[in-house]
Amino acid sequence: MSVLVKKEGIRLLSGNEAIARGAFEAGVKVASAYPGTPSTEILENFVRYEGVYAEWAPNEKVAVEVAIGASMGGVRALAAMKHVGVNVAADPIFTASYTGVRGGLVIVTADDPELHSSQNEQDNRHYAVAAKIPMLEPSDSFEAKEFTRLAFELSEKYDTPVFLRTTTRISHAKGVVRLGEPSGPAFPPGFTPDPAKWVMLPVNAKRRHVVVEERTKALREFAETWDGNRIEWGDRSLGIVTSGVSYQYVKEAFPDASVLKIGLAWPLPERLFREFAAGVSRVVVVEELDPHLETHVKALGIPAQGKELIPIVGELDPRIVRQAITGEAIPVRAPEPVPPRPPNLCPGCPHRGLFFALKKLKVTVTGDIGCSTLAALPPLGAMDSCICMGASIGNAHGMEKALGKDGAGKVVAVIGDSTFLHSGVTGLMNVVYNRGGSTTILLDNDITAMTGAQQNPATGKTLHGEPTRRTDLPALCRALGVEHVYTVDPHDMKRTEEVLRREVARPEPSVIITKAPCALLPDHRRKIRPVYEVIADLCTGCKACSRLGCPAIEWVPFTPEEAVDAGKKATQKGMARISPLLCDGCNQCPPLCKFQAILEIKS
């Protein structure tokens, strides 16, 4: 950063960077998370701050449990996850609400309206209500940092975990932030035994529930007076209640309107709602996803409009907000029709070889979440289901049990290494325990790839890239009781197909581990790799290689004249070409060509 900028303590940070910075300024000591878009960069950013212990946990539940333990130990702690991660971590979260904290405990939930990179669009403000945990909701990077600091203070003051909720447009939007000086809690670390607080036997939990209800009352008072919940009086003919990034869209679309900005999504300020409603002639609630604020405004008997105008599906923008409230359609040019450009497995991705081989077997594939989910798209189209992390193995087992004898040898689960360790292990344990016979394919690409290359317990490296003991995947599968565990190189599709056929037919549980690094890993990229080309004279345009779906293989269409000019039969519709800029040299495509037209470029 430039000297000029540094002098003023001004930085342009993403919401995620701002949260890490805010936690650092609040003196956070322990941070644990499992990656998930759009939350991932929060933990990655702790690497730059000294004095913060940060780790990747195998899943969100563990991350929260680690953070709770750290809080018990008297330090400030943070756990971060994407929205669906809270589903996984919900169990400890709901009871941490009862125990309360010692060191400030902040749980970041990063929601993903519009499903930019998610399997559903759930609104995690419901969790705040259900778990009776206060939830702060910043509306830009500036607030993301300030609210994070505040979250730790509130946590200690009110003896409660605190949720910090972002959405994609907060986490992944950059805005100006003013840096502050680090501070910390006013007490030293240390665990003080206090069974009535920490041991949630029914007798203790019952008493803690009373404390929780009292706490919510106190927090509601805080909500009435805190300036993060504030009225910005303007034109009194329109009053908009809003929070999070929607506030920015409202300010853009209706710069003159009166606005009630809510910074604490739970609990909500009743008197402030009433004061605002009394001061304006029309109340509209503008929020993304579910009618959270709206329900509570209406419960007070305040006449308001909300989801009858504002879409419940997807994210908003200023135009959507303006159009919804004024009712006037603002004409814009229609998007030009062009071929779609969905994401695709990278050139040289090891998953491609596995799915290509798998497709030939004509089995049902219960899939999982990760880069491999992209194999569901054409031309591979080799995945039949994808529900949530870890689901593939239970899904395969359930389907096999449902189909009985007809299902034998017909269902295969496919799961990535990180996902297997996150929540697939228990599924596999179940297959063995309950005498299943399904085959599990474990894609070991030595990284958590989909979320941008994070380490996991099977990679042998920590968040900081330091070496550590690694979970031995074949040994783990054997320990679960799987007798047949085989490792193959997925780039060798012939061998992979042989092993697949053999194991799928086997009436006992088996695991096939496909082992080859993600093509984007720096170690892989540094390797000297071959580059392949299609010898134009030999290509008959049969498209055998195109069906692999490698982005490096391009189809060059011909007109009959062009075909003749190229020395081909006039009936040949085109030929394949390999982009030397894109080819990763994985050697999956050359054996597919019956005419030996794909050769290594020698130079």
């Binding site: 930019h116 447009r169 869209y249 814009v332 998007p335 071929p339 695709n344 498209k543």
Partner: protein
């Protein structure tokens, strides 16, 4: 004096380095005293899918998203992506488009054709269309990874910033060994469009 404001929309293909380009632009705006916000999506789309960045500057910016029909400048890293997001451009807005073609899966596998009339269709959107061959410029410097900064250079004609701001942003953002070649790429990109031929409105 009023501080100018504007909306810059960047469109490209995952892996083309749109992220670095938008970071450099943001830093340059910040260094020059503007408020800036930018928004982009990480994750899934980065595997070769369409990627976009919304970048907004001015005295005070609220929304991190640009509305369709409001962008003053569209910088497209790939030709067809310019077309895909052309409806974000305001009437009379400018486009800087990299002439490079990257085939999407349906085209690469022969199901569909790459549209041949991209330039004509873009010209129907705006007469301030500037096609540049950023790939060739980058290759001539023997560093394909600088395509993104070549485009920043070409686009700089349409932004109210001094050249020094970009160069300072580059040296602040990049590892030292990459600074020189990227500054060179920026200048090469800027030279692709002559100030006099740049159509202003």
């Amino acid at each position: 004096m009023t501080v100018p404001k504007g909306d810059v929309f960047l469109a490209g293909v995952g892996g083309q380095g749109t992220l670095l380009a938008s970071e450099v632009l943001c830093d340059a705006f910040l260094l020059s005293g503007f408020d800036v916000k930018k928004s982009e999506v990480h994750g899934m789309a980065q595997r070769g899918g369409s990627v976009t960045t919304h970048l907004r500057f001015g005295p005070k910016v609220f929304s991190p998203l640009i509305e369709p029909g409001k962008a003053d400048l569209l910088i497209a890293f790939e030709k067809m992506e310019a077309l895909r997001f052309a409806h974000y451009l305001r009437t009379g807005g400018a486009m800087v488009v990299n002439a490079q073609e990257i085939l999407p899966p349906s085209v690469a596998t022969g199901q569909e054709r790459y549209p041949r009339d991209v330039a004509e269709r873009l010209r129907a959107v705006t007469d301030r269309l500037h096609m540049v061959d950023a790939l060739a410029a980058a290759l001539s410097m023997r560093e394909v990874r600088t395509v993104n900064i070549v485009l920043v250079g070409a686009a700089s004609h349409f932004l109210p910033l001094p050249e020094a701001a970009y160069e300072e942003a580059l040296s602040a953002r990049l590892q030292e060994k990459f600074v020189a070649v990227n500054v060179q790429a920026f200048r090469a990109g800027r030279a692709l469009l002559q100030p006099l031929t740049v159509k202003r409105h």
